[in-house]
């Protein structure tokens, strides 16, 4: 899962929750939208793993691992 996916999931989740909240003024079905919004946001956050390119820490760790493997071999 990329940063684009995370951003999209968060945006959709928050918009759906906001729509649900607005719809609550008309009917209780708004809770349904809020539930779907929470599911989208929650799944987006839990399935996100920082990619190596986006994280300097992971990038250096990955390079370190490559160097270690070279040394071992």
């Amino acid at each position: 899962m990329t940063e684009k996916h995370l951003f999209f999931s968060l945006t959709v989740g928050l918009v759906v929750m906001a729509l649900g909240w607005a719809l609550l003024y008309l009917d209780t079905i708004g809770w349904g939208l809020i539930a779907f919004g929470v599911a989208v946001t929650g799944l987006g956050i839990t399935s996100w793993r920082p990619s190596i390119k986006s994280s300097p820490l992971l990038q250096s760790a990955s390079e370190g691992e490559k160097i270690d493997r070279k040394t071992v071999s």
Partner: protein, 310 residues
């Protein structure tokens, strides 16, 4: 808002599958119910068309076809650029979301009838019209990499798939027969809601079992499968109001815009875009968008349209 009785059967289907209960729905019965619903919707539309058909339908039909062309063009960039799916998958899924789901339409009709909200009785004509344009756009979008298409086979799939041929056929029969169709309406009209309940029981089981197949794209597909019906529903509602439909008609156009095909388009896309992951398209339309529309979407479109037209 009170839960419609047919939707309760859909939830029962989901519960049955989640509990892994040993409930088997015969495939032949599911096929029979699908055929029944298509014939019933087409016939009802044809009879209504015989009574209310006017030239005013032509500009409305044109607007509906244009709507069917625009929807996949909105879905494609989201899938291709944000979702980072390949071109074939993006085009195939976009075609699914540009077309319509007969099951979702049937639920919306049942909901409007149970609440006494009037709608244009010839609406099945628009359902038939919205089936095709998205397939053409989907093929055009996928064509960038896949140019070897068996057009003869593809045209056969588009024009002769069971949804298209049965609904158009029943529409023509209803239009031709008019009031004479009264002799067969007890079967197609009175049993409609009962058959729909059985159909939704099976769909609930299918939707619940499909969700597990999403794998690593699950979070993006879940977000897309909920965002796209909201976009389509909103545009459908606005278009319905713009072309002068009644409140019920605008709600139905919102539902058609929000729904994603799982019968006609998959068959056509298998022929036109064989490299696409067809499991992903059908899982998204059947496992995410269909349940979303049934449980939350349709009642929300009803409320939103009524609020907008009040």
């Amino acid at each position: 808002m009170q839960l419609d009785i047919v939707i309760a059967f859909f939830i029962l289907g989901v519960v049955v599958r989640l509990l892994r209960a040993n409930v088997q729905f015969p495939p032949a019965l599911y096929q029979s119910l699908t055929l029944f619903l298509m014939l019933a919707i087409g016939l009802k539309g044809g009879i209504a068309l015989a009574e209310h058909g006017t030239w005013q339908l032509l500009p409305q039909s044109f607007a509906v076809v244009m709507f069917g062309l625009i929807l996949p063009l909105l879905a494609f960039p989201i899938l291709f650029y944000i979702g980072q799916l390949n071109r074939e998958d993006s085009a195939s899924i976009a075609a699914h979301y540009g077309s319509v789901s007969i099951g979702t339409y049937a639920v919306a009709v049942a909901l409007l009838e149970s609440r006494g909200i009037p709608y244009e009785p010839y609406f099945p004509l628009f359902v038939v019209l919205l089936e095709m344009p998205a397939i053409a756009i989907g093929i055009a979008l996928a064509n960038g990499t896949n140019k070897k298409i068996d057009w003869r086979k593809l045209l056969h799939e588009i024009l002769c798939n069971q949804g298209m041929i049965l609904m158009t056929g029943a529409l023509v029969i209803g239009l031709w027969a008019g009031e004479r169709a009264a002799s067969i309406t007890p079967l197609f009209k009175d049993l409609f809601h009962g058959a729909l309940a059985l159909f939704l029981l099976e769909m609930g089981m299918v939707a619940a079992s499909r969700l597990a197949q999403l794998k690593q794209t699950a979070s993006f597909m879940l977000a897309f499968g909920i965002a796209m019906p909201l976009i389509g529903g909103f545009l459908g509602c606005l278009l319905g109001i713009a072309i002068g439909l009644t409140t019920g008609g605008a709600i139905l156009l919102a539902v058609l815009g929000a729904s994603a095909s799982y019968i006609a388009v998959p068959a056509a896309m298998r022929v036109a875009v064989p490299k696409a992951d067809h499991g992903l398209s059908i899982t998204s339309s059947l496992g995410i968008t269909f349940p979303f529309n049934i449980l939350v979407g349709i009642p929300s479109y009803v409320l939103f349209t009524q609020w907008l037209m009040a």
